[in-house]
Amino acid sequence: MGIILNNISKSYANVPALDDISFEVAPGELFGLIGPDGAGKTTLFRILTTLLIQDRGNAAVAGYDVLKQYKDIRNHVGYMPGRFSLYQDLTVEENLTFFATIFGTTIEENYDLIKDIYIQIEPFKDRRAGKLSGGMKQKLALCCALIHKPKVLFLDEPTTGVDPVSRKEFWEMLKRLQQKNITILVSTPYMDEAELCDRIALITNGKILQINTPEAIIASFPKKIYKVRSSNTYQLIQDLRIYPDTHSAYPFGEYLHFTPKSEAFGPMDLSKYLEERHHKGIEVKETVATIEDTFMDLSKAQE
């Protein structure tokens, strides 16, 4: 009753967007699709919401086949596209009423489902949707996607362009919705949000790198990882890239994340190398891998 994908492939004019994707989302699961822009996340959503037809493979949502039973799927899923897609010239309340009506229901009927979210935008219910802030727009869009009590909810990058506080609130809302037995497939380019999902699929260039719980994905990181800092970040990354024992080095917040090639690597070796290259304020510390580190590692391996 969740989502099942078997060997889904899709190309646009011979450019592959999805390549042999298979996974399952269990009923009531909060499943994250994590990957950079252009990874194929939106194409995947559009196939599952019956907006696009896959070239190969088959998929089922809430027990319905995406091709043959597309009408049933359209009755039972909620979809929030990546771009804000509500009527900007309609007020908050009018938008919500409209989506309730076209799904043959009313706001009152399913109010308990959206109550937590709607309460926050209710003071602005007479404001046109186009005049809302980014976070409010997302809340309204979520309300509209939920108003018909869908079995499966598709959220395509719901937090892109939303401030950190609203993002946090948004994920708390998703967690609460999950309690109400709604299967949720959510995509995001933000790796920190991945840790809030039950399971995640790392996706890049139309291929799935790994599917697991966030904890297992982090635990699977095969190497030691160090965070490195110096007063000249630009020079630091140049120097790390020519350092003979470098496996990978990429910026991560105010640090660089560094993984060594050899098992025998010691942080002191690196500090010494950097001192020779006239770096100041050098800091090399072992750290815990994150989803992003895993992602970088896996996509490097794929190349």
Partner: protein, 368 residues
């Protein structure tokens, strides 16, 4: 059914909140009819006329004087023979010739009746018409002056003759034409834009992932515009009747029914356009180039179809506006009933069904 009504409600919100479109919807018809109407029935001033006086007596001199002193006319020449009338007109300056019959005063006294012919250049039929009216009223004035205190009144009979366009073919013709253009523009362009707008803003994506079926979406888009266009058609007809005194000879009910048919026809064309264009701008360009130009050029509104080269005459047959203008002219100007326009009506119905079927078939239930 609730879904459908909800959808229509939403469409009305869109229309009523978009001030610019609303202005186009209701402002344009009024402005256009007024422009066309007043540009054509404007007053005349200092129109050049010539005199052909066969009698040269007291009365004709007095009349010529009266005309010369009125601000409407200025006499720009005297001719001696009927043969010269046409060549005078061809020079282009002179718009009318007053032709006094032989023995004008004598006839007036002996027969109590004399005739003056007003020959007008009817290439511009409205000016021609206005000129004869003005000359007629000057003659009437003079006649009243003569008749003061007389038992047996004199009668001066003006005879109007039009040269070049004796049937006054384009007077009032602008009303059917303008009405057709406006209904076409409002109905086809507005619907095609409103549907492509949903595509452009991404709301179509959500509408597709909903239980609404294509027919509900299409009909829901169209119903508000049918209502608005009917209001528009009524405004145009009322303006023509009350502001421009256009006589509507035929049945108003039939006129309304045929207009509604044409509106539905234009709307289905609009839907068809929206299925092949993905942005509002393309939809607008296609509507303007693909619909407006043929309507203006090939429908017989401005250029008579009978004087077109054969290939264009054949093409004009596939333009719905041509048939609608024929129907309108029939009902409004000739006062005919359905019995005379059933053929045109059937053609319009056929075209409408064709467009609707095609658009429902072309309507995409997915994104590609």
């Amino acid at each position: 059914m609730n879904r459908f009504i909800g959808f229509i409600k939403k469409e009305f919100y869109h229309i009523l909140r978009d001030r610019r479109s609303l202005f186009i919807l209701f402002g344009m018809p009024i402005v256009q009819v007024m422009l066309f109407g007043f540009a054509i029935t404007n007053e005349i001033n200092n129109v050049d006329i010539a005199i052909l006086d066969h009698s040269k007596d007291v009365n004709t001199k007095e009349i010529i004087n009266k005309i010369a002193t009125s601000k409407y006319f200025s006499i720009k020449g005297f001719i001696d023979h009927e043969d010269e009338i046409e060549s005078t007109f061809k020079k282009g300056k002179i718009k009318a010739v007053l032709n006094f019959e032989k023995d004008f005063s004598k006839n007036l006294v002996t027969q109590k009746k004399a005739t003056v012919q007003i020959v007008t250049d009817a290439t511009d039929p409205n000016t021609a018409n206005t000129i004869s009216n003005y000359v007629g009223s000057i003659l009437k004035n003079y006649q009243q002056e003569l008749n003061q205190g007389l038992n047996l009144p004199y009668q001066i009979v003006p005879q109007t003759r039009m040269v070049f366009n004796p049937e006054l073919k384009s007077v009032y013709m602008f009303v059917p034409g303008v009405m057709t253009i406006i209904l076409m523009l409002v109905s086809a362009m507005m619907t095609s834009i409103s549907i492509t707008k949903e595509k452009e803003l991404g709301t179509m994506e959500i509408l597709l992932v909903s239980p609404l079926n294509p027919i509900q979406v299409i009909v829901g888009k169209v119903v508000p515009y049918i209502l608005l266009s009917i209001i528009n058609a009524a405004v145009i007809i009322l303006l023509s009747i009350f502001v421009f005194k256009m006589p509507v000879q035929g049945s108003l009910f039939l006129l309304g029914a045929e207009s509604t048919l044409f509106i539905v026809n234009a709307l289905s064309l609009g839907i068809l356009i929206s299925t092949i264009s993905s942005t509002q701008q393309t939809a607008m360009m296609i509507s303007l180039m693909g619909l407006m130009l043929p309507v203006i050029l090939l429908s017989g509104f401005i250029f008579p179809i009978s004087s077109m080269p054969l290939p264009l005459q054949l093409i004009s047959n596939i333009i719905p506006a041509k048939w609608f203008i024929m129907i309108l002219k029939g009902i409004m100007l000739k006062g005919v009933g359905l019995a005379y326009v059933w053929k045109e009506t059937l053609i319009l119905i056929g075209m409408t069904i064709f467009f609707i079927v095609l658009s429902v078939k072309k309507y995409k239930i997915r994104l590609e």
